[in-house]
Symmetry: C2
Subunit: 257 residues, 2 copies
Amino acid sequence: MKTTPPSSSIEDYVKVIYSFTEWQDKPITSTQLAARLGVANSSVSEMVRKLKDQDLVEHEPYSPIRLTAAGLTLALSMVRRHRLLETYLVRELGYTWDEVHEEAELLEHAVSETFIERMSAKLGNPTRDPHGDPIPDAGGHITMAPSHRLDELDPGHRGRVSRISDHDPELLRYLEQHGIGVDTELQVVGRRPFGGTLVIARLPSPGAPSRTDDAGHLDLGDEAAVSLWLATVGTHPGCTVQEPAGGTLMHPHATGV
Amino acid sequence: MKTTPPSSSIEDYVKVIYSFTEWQDKPITSTQLAARLGVANSSVSEMVRKLKDQDLVEHEPYSPIRLTAAGLTLALSMVRRHRLLETYLVRELGYTWDEVHEEAELLEHAVSETFIERMSAKLGNPTRDPHGDPIPDAGGHITMAPSHRLDELDPGHRGRVSRISDHDPELLRYLEQHGIGVDTELQVVGRRPFGGTLVIARLPSPGAPSRTDDAGHLDLGDEAAVSLWLATVGTHPGCTVQEPAGGTLMHPHATGV
DNA sequence: ACTATTATTTCGGTATACCTAAATTTTTGG
DNA sequence: CCAAAAATTTAGGTATACCGAAATAATAGT
Ligand SMILES: [Mn+2]
Ligand SMILES: [Mn+2]
Ligand SMILES: [Mn+2]
Ligand SMILES: [Mn+2]
């Protein structure tokens, strides 16, 4: 029996299924998968059957889709490719952080394993991409400081920006213009009344005593707030978000699942 | 009407049609194209019709296939991509010259125009790839010193290796082991009797007075002889190959065809 | 000039990855 | 509980890029 390498489509399906569970653990549904891939629901139904035949996902009709161990391995390898490529484009070819996602999206399917490993070595085996996302190592292990989406944090929370979704280049350019990037120190100030925007403050210098002054205030729309993740450094009294226990969060894969 | 970008297959067809005429000018036939692409003749017939519909080739049934101006432009852009990628892989990622062809073969379809131009700039806009092949500039212009295939040269001819076909990685490793690479100075010594191998001599140091001593002799099989091109520096008496007139050979494209 | 060989195209099929519309199952709200 | 809405799958169909076998055109040898 000849084992065909996964097609680009299969690689994308598996990668998107994985990405959905990277920051929370509800498994992805058919419709959500279709939306993220930009294809019709019916296409997903067909492809999921194919993925199941290849033992990359578990799936019962009308229920959500979960990666198998083999599927997770493939997904992590794609995520590694994608994030290493983004890092390389920024560090070696002068790309800006808002340009790299699209380019990596195509390249990830075309480069060889050799290419990936030479690139990784040249970069010094980085562990975070230009948007703060963790880069799995060659063995599929991934580590990430516990973080929360900005829109889930109550006023008073302080933290370091640990990741920013790279999906919308415009948002990235906007944030950069306002001095917000990976590792920026931030504090949640509050919300404008009646479901208004989230107000945050940039903290002057990383490590220095945090001081919230008016100059650093910034209003963030919903789209921005859900795209920013904070590694919180202190819990405000009255906080409704509970801190995870450990200092690092190991992905299921690292613990053998 | 929406203009779809050429598929990878179309890009490959056009590139192979071009490559066939890069070093001689008989146009390629259906069967030759099929052989080089590794597909069935029937597939070529179908695809050539599609290429003709898209105005990339001229073709009458049962006759050879020629690129149109649009086809040539696309082909030269693919050749530029391929050769720049090969150069980049060698210079920036530590690839050896026998590894790059295969990798470039896939990458050329996946990288953006932006990627190509940033890469080219970083390399200082090189004009030759690791195998000596000329790299077209962004405008599709290409220049090459007039050269002859080693197997077409009579004994006595001297010259500088101007290009080596990169198709067979094993051949490249073999040549490297025997001290033959791009710009190596060479002299044709003769042929073993009764259709035997071609004997050549490596000339000691480039520019220095050429001296053929026994230590530098090497037998080349047919496959090797047709893969090596020499920019001849002197014509031996009794030569059957006529030297082209000009100092540089401009490709048809450069003169507007 | 004519036949045998070779080259090329046409024909009927396959695989992948999509789509829309219709059918079906699940979920929800009263 | 049960109908209406929402989610999901199935059915039927398209485009691309292949294939092998059959048909046809070109070419070569006598
Ligand atoms: Mn990305
Ligand atoms: Mn990223
Ligand atoms: Mn090559
Ligand atoms: Mn080359």
